[in-house]
Amino acid sequence: MNIKSLHIKVSLSVAAAALFVVMLSSQFFYKSSYESSFSDSERSVQQLLETVQTTAAIAAYVGNRELAQQVVTGLTQNDIVVGAQIIANNEIIGQDGKTSSDAKQTLISIPLIAPFDDKEKVGQLAVTPNIALIALRARDSAMATTIGLAAQGAVVALLVLILVYWMMTRPLSYLSGNLHRITPGDGKRLDVNSLHRGDEIGLLAGDINALLHTVEKMLEEERQLRHRVELLETRFRGIFEDSSAGIFLVRELGALVTANPAFFRLTGLAEQQSANVANNDIIARVFLDHEQARALIQLALASQLPQAADLRIRTGSEVNLRWVHCIFSPADNEQQGTTVEGVMYDVTQRKFSEERIRELAEKDSLTGLSNRQAAESALVELIHQTPINSSEFAVMMIDLDRFKFINDTYGHDAGDKVLVTVATRLRKMVRDSDIVARLGGDEFLLILNHAGNIGMIERIAQKILDAQQAPIEVQPGLMEKIGMSIGIALYPQHGDNSLSLRKHADQAMYSVKRESKNNYAIYNPDEKATT
């Protein structure tokens, strides 16, 4: 039992209170008992004197010393009297024991009246009381009273203690001990003695049981809820972890919050690496088109709508490009602040096949130049983009001389070789932004952006012609020189649409073919009639 136990506290309190009361009352009772006992003794002495008063008066009256001596001797027989004397006519006629002079004690005296005359005082009877004995007896008596009282107090205190222990402390500590052993959820309840069914202890136990019941119910509900949440979380985590799409969460400025394994698989980043760069810009690290990615993020945040685009991501090499389709959705939440959720999946294959299809559609399969359709749409586009009065560009229509002869003489392979060689030369002669197309057969079309003035165009045409001076090995060991006729039409002077531009370039080219071959000519509207 520890010192803080309720029972010890109650015991100590009751004991202290009892001790206090006993001490206080015993002090009072000791005093009053002592005083009463003392005055009792004094009264006894007085009564003693009154008993012998008559005889003493006679002795004093007649001055009889024998009788006086008998009286005082008789008085000193009492142990509460240590001395006695009878005085008559200022003379001691009888004395025994100590007197006032040598005991220095208070005398108790009574006057002696003449037996036959009430008015005449014949002497005095005085005794010295045994104060020490009287005090001792008074003390003994007082002590006995006090001890009795203290014992009574102790017994009452003990009874109170036992009753309090039996009726309150014990059931309370029993209750407390039981409650201490109960863990909410184990289904245990407090049992209470039928003795306490109606009182506060019974009520307390009942309330505690009700509380335990409520707590258990809540715990059970909580447990089930947690179980459901865990199940859901597992499912979602499974989706997140196993998804083939990369899922990631970034802050507005590009810091990575979290990402699933697919994200790291796609981007080639290591998870630890990304953890280290959590505060760095993951967007710049991941995307080759990071400007566009950032713009999409801003747009998604501003519009609060998902934004999607095909983006290139960084890989080790520039050649090995990878494309992802990326959807950015605003995903604000309370814990993370402003964040954007990104979902990306690999679209490299699709991107490549799309490119392949476009190439098939736009390229000439033999030479790799643009085909007729591509050249046509490029020309339409260029006209559409170029304001009429701003600048001009040139369209060159080229037809090879003697191609039919070579094709017929040396075969299609030789013709193809000539076509590929010419195509390569043409491509080299002009800028990358210029369009070089094979329209079909031995017919080529050049579109020269920003051609500048006529002189510059003529120089280019001449350079192209000069380049054809080098012979082409049409068959092993067999070299052939190929000439070409070039017709030039300028936009917008010679036509403001693709049809008239090509037609006029064609006309200029045929005029060359008719006259000299292996030359160029700029469209001349005046010659129109002659063709």
């Binding site: 006679i58 009256y61 009889n64 024998e66 009788l67 037996p115 036959f116 005359d117």
Partner: protein, 141 residues
């Protein structure tokens, strides 16, 4: 004659005034009057001399005599039994003796007449010349 007359009258009233007691001494005693207190002191043993310092001897009557009870009752206010107890106390203590007791008043008168230091009491009655009255006790009847 006058005296006789008074005596007769007094005698005639004696039944009525029988409480009247006379304290007498020898006619030769120089004392003519005595105070009440002096008589008490003599009869109760406190004093053994007359006021003139002459020795005195008290004479008493036998116990049970009516005049004795009357005398002590009148003199001290105590009953005969109380007076006897008083003397018993003193006698028991020693050295003290009560007054000498005589059987009747005639003996008392004769003794007083013969003893110059004697003092006694008798009922009011004619007395011989050899004794004289020193005090009269009137019973307050």
């Amino acid at each position: 004659m006058m005296k006789l007359l008074i005596s007769i009258i007094l005698l005639g009233f004696s039944n009525l005034l029988q409480a009247d007691t006379l304290v007498i001494v020898n006619a030769q005693n120089p004392i003519s009057r005595m105070e009440h207190k002096q008589v008490v002191d003599l009869f109760m043993g406190r004093s053994s001399v007359f006021p003139d310092r002459q020795p005195a001897q008290t004479l008493d009557l036998k116990a049970g005599t009516p005049v004795r009870a009357s005398f002590y009752k009148t003199l001290t206010g105590k009953s005969e039994a109380q007076v006897d107890a008083y003397w018993a106390t003193l006698v028991f203590a020693g050295r003290m003796s009560p007054p000498k007791q005589l059987t009747d008043e005639q003996q008392v008168i004769a003794e007083v007449a013969a003893n110059p230091s004697a003092i006694a009491y008798v009922n009011r009655q004619p007395l011989p010349a050899s004794v004289k009255i020193v005090m009269e006790l009137n019973t307050p009847e």
